[in-house]
């Protein structure tokens, strides 16, 4: 039974994505019978390449996606190198959960409310500069997309930080750091020369997932990105919702193009890895120690604090907006406050939170069960041939959502399953499971195998070893993976709306619908509400093991390892 779980899991990931891609590929080449497209043609491509500014959209997607990923990775690695094992590092670890619970769109709104010409920072400056109207410069929606990159970076840093944290203990970085220090290396250089080569393979997949996401992002790009022209994914969404249904053909070929852009971005990244790998090896052996790295260390801390601070301050401003009366520029605070909207939304809140759980809990539990099944199978059969195929689980993370979501909808409708809770959960699972796998696989594989061997030799059956030894030892990891999964399912807008045919009003479908009304108070309320469930999840992941194992000091060391 257990041995079939990896193949079942892979089918559940690959199946919907492939079905969705077929549903996108066919119209991209002119086939969509419902709109009269019955014979193959290249017209959609011709129409696409005739779109004004297409080249700029492509460059924006590609360059900004790569830039956002590179900046996030560099900041995370620099920060880990410079501050691992210090109080600053532990402070960041503590800030991690709340920041991870913030959906991308909420963080982007928070950032916009902070840095826009009418934003809070400008209001502070206005007090001294005496401005009575915002400066007319494009700080957000700037033509180069810098604000969008900033928005992506603030949200990707915590995710990559979480993934790196999981990889650190396996690479024994603390001990390595002691050794490099005694050899006279500066903290950062020692870390980059000795620890990074061991850590990088473990965080490579999360980095590629971030790259795929950043290259095809929609929500953050709509809020912070340029519009003349917009990055490709945003334009695809526009074409898909054009009243002229003939645009669907072109939108499909654009979705295929988007997939190619993501593949190109990954190619470029891997090429960079190769080059850096070779030059890095020479660098590691050249003996330079760079002992005076205080400036760089402080810079990395400042960057990390700015990134975390932007999200947190953005949230505070969202909170203020949610209770604001009329709030004119350049007032630092609203003239009066009102809880009226919170009170009005209160009735809706319960129902939409409940629906969110109705979808999220089964999706997360199924994901965790399947992932544990795959990993446990790995332990039992050793390094079998299935191990190599398991990366297929990550396909949904690497293929842009917009490239297969609409095909997926057709697929579910074809098999008569759309609108069912089952189908919505299944669709969520496609996005939740890879993240759960990402969070769980390293710690699971890193667990000392001798615990299991000892238990087996003590006469415990493999099943008992799993339930009574491995699972309890991984309590905190499993709960964290569940919280990550919960954050992912709560964030799903398109799959919930499209596959659920509007039958499932979750916190996010409500939030996105109300955000289209543009009232910043509603954006504030639902942005914060979207955080509630993931935050509760992360809080449980910290509290439950702490309570369960309050008399087991070894467990806190264990969950770090």
């Amino acid at each position: 039974m257990l041995r079939f779980i990896p193949i079942l899991t892979i089918v559940m990931m690959i199946g919907p994505v492939s079905a969705g891609l077929i549903g996108t590929l066919l119209p991209a080449f002119g086939i969509l019978p419902a709109l009269g497209g019955t014979s193959p043609s290249l017209d959609p491509w011709a129409a696409l390449f005739a779109q004004p500014g297409l080249d700029q959209s492509i460059v924006l997607s590609l360059v900004n996606g790569l830039a956002a990923t590179l900046i996030s990775v560099v900041i995370v690695l620099l920060f880990c190198a410079a501050w691992q094992g210090t109080p600053v590092f532990r402070l960041m670890q503590r800030l991690l959960s709340p920041i991870l619970s913030v959906p991308h769109a909420t963080a982007a709104f928070g950032l916009a409310f902070l840095i826009a010409p009418s934003g809070w920072i400008a209001r502070v400056i206005a007090q001294f500069a005496g401005w009575d109207r915002p400066v007319d410069i494009a700080i957000i929606q700037d033509p180069l997309g810098l604000a969008m990159v900033a928005g992506l970076v603030t949200k990707e840093i915590p995710f990559l930080f979480l993934m790196t944290l999981a990889a650190l203990p396996q690479a024994e970085t603390e001990r390595t750091a002691q050794i490099t220090a005694t050899l006279g290396y500066g903290k950062i250089t020692g870390w980059f020369k000795a620890s990074l080569p061991r850590i990088y393979p473990q965080i490579r997949l999360p980095i590629l997932a971030v790259l795929a996401y950043s290259t095809s992002v929609v929500d953050v790009a709509i809020i912070l990105g340029p519009t003349t022209p917009a990055p490709l994914a945003v334009r695809i969404l526009g074409w898909l919702s054009d009243p002229d249904l003939a645009y669907r053909f072109m939108a499909s070929s654009a979705a295929v193009l988007q997939l190619l852009i993501v593949i190109a971005a990954m190619g470029i990244w891997m090429l960079g890895e190769k080059v850096l790998g070779i030059t890095g090896r020479h660098w590691a052996e050249d003996g330079h120690r760079f002992k005076r790295d205080g400036g760089l260390r402080r810079t990395s801390a400042v960057l990390a604090v700015i990134a975390a601070g932007a999200v947190i301050l953005g949230l505070v401003i969202l909170l203020v907006w949610s209770i604001a009366g009329f709030w004119a520029f350049p007032d630092l605070l609203p003239r009066h406050f009102s809880f009226r909207l919170w009170v009005r939304e209160f009735d809706m809140i319960g129902a939409s939170l409940w629906t969110t759980l109705l979808i999220g809990v089964p999706a997360v539990l199924t994901a965790v069960a399947l992932v544990l099944g795959c990993l446990e199978n790995e332990v039992r059969i050793g390094h079998g041939p299935g191990r190599r195929a398991i990366w297929l689980i990550y396909v949904p993370l690497l293929v842009p959502q917009i490239s297969f979501m609409f095909g997926l909808q057709v697929f579910f409708t074809l098999i008569g399953m759309e609108r069912t809770l089952f189908a919505v959960v299944l669709a969520h699972l496609v996005f939740v499971l890879p993240y759960v796998f990402l969070s769980l696989s390293d710690p699971f594989r890193a667990l000392d195998p001798r615990y299991g061997q000892t238990a087996l030799c003590l006469g415990a059956s493999p099943t008992r070893v799993f339930w009574q030894v491995r699972l309890p030892l991984l309590t905190r990891t499993v709960l964290t993976a569940m919280a990550v999964g919960m954050a992912v399912t709560v964030g799903q807008y398109l799959p919930t709306l499209l596959i659920g045919a509007g039958r499932f009003a979750t916190v996010t479908t409500e939030a996105v619908a109300l955000a289209s009304g543009g009232d910043r108070r509603m954006i504030g309320i639902y942005g914060l509400l979207q955080m509630v469930l993931p935050f509760a999840g992360f809080a449980c992941a910290l509290l439950i093991p702490a309570i369960l194992f309050r008399h087991r000091r070894g467990m806190s060391a264990q969950s770090k390892g």
Partner: protein, 215 residues
């Protein structure tokens, strides 16, 4: 534990190879109550041999020969059905269970009754000189206490053979002597054929049994 009808552990021309390279080849019989020491440099496949006897060696190793325990072939049996007890250099006490919980984990399910099981565990603690430690967090024990609990845990699982994988290498020299005699005395008392791998010659001397050098 009775030794009647037991012939001990027999390794009949056991060879372990990885990627075509032979790691270890032994032909050896260990009588009940006998302690045999395998010496060899690291990488000589000592631990792989123990893993093979336990049945936890990953599939990519090539293995020939037979492992017999009291005349019964172990090859093909699941680890949990072999009655092979093993101690590593780390005590590997389960950090999520109490000291008593660790011991009770090892106690066979055939021992019925909550009170009865508790009693057996308490007895084991008394014989390890750790009366009253049932509810203690293993993380709060001293190194010597942990080693003793680890051994008691193996013995409670009623093994028919005891394997020791450099069990004393992490203990400081003062403790090492104590724990060595504690382990060997109990192994003999229980009539367990015992196979120890180590690279510390003193271990072999203290064991007082045959000493085999691997190349």
């Amino acid at each position: 534990m009775p030794t009647k009808g037991k012939t001990g552990l027999e390794l009949r021309d056991v060879r372990i190879a990885l990627d075509g390279r032979e790691l270890v080849a032994v032909n050896l019989t260990i009588a009940p109550g006998e302690v045999v020491t395998l010496m060899g440099p690291s990488g000589s496949g000592k631990s792989s041999l123990l893993g093979h006897i336990c049945g936890t060696l990953p599939a990519q190793f090539d293995i020939s020969g037979q492992v017999l325990l009291d005349g019964v072939a172990l090859d093909g049996l699941a680890p949990q059905d072999r009655h092979v007890g093993i101690l590593f250099q780390d005590d590997l006490l389960f950090p999520h269970l109490s000291v008593g919980g660790n011991l009770a984990f090892a106690l066979p399910s055939g021992v019925k009754g909550k009170a009865n099981r508790r009693e057996q565990v308490e007895q084991a603690l008394i014989s390890a000189g750790m009366d009253g430690f049932y509810n203690r967090d293993p993380a709060t024990l001293s190194g010597g206490q942990r080693a003793r609990v680890a051994l008691m845990r193996v013995l409670l699982s009623e093994p028919c053979v005891l394997l020791l994988d450099e069990p004393f290498s992490k203990l400081d020299s003062e403790l090492r002597g104590q724990i060595r005699s504690f382990v060997f005395d109990l192994a003999r008392k229980n009539g367990l054929p015992t196979l120890m791998v180590t690279h510390d010659p003193e271990d072999g001397v203290a064991a007082g049994g045959r000493l085999i050098e691997l190349s």
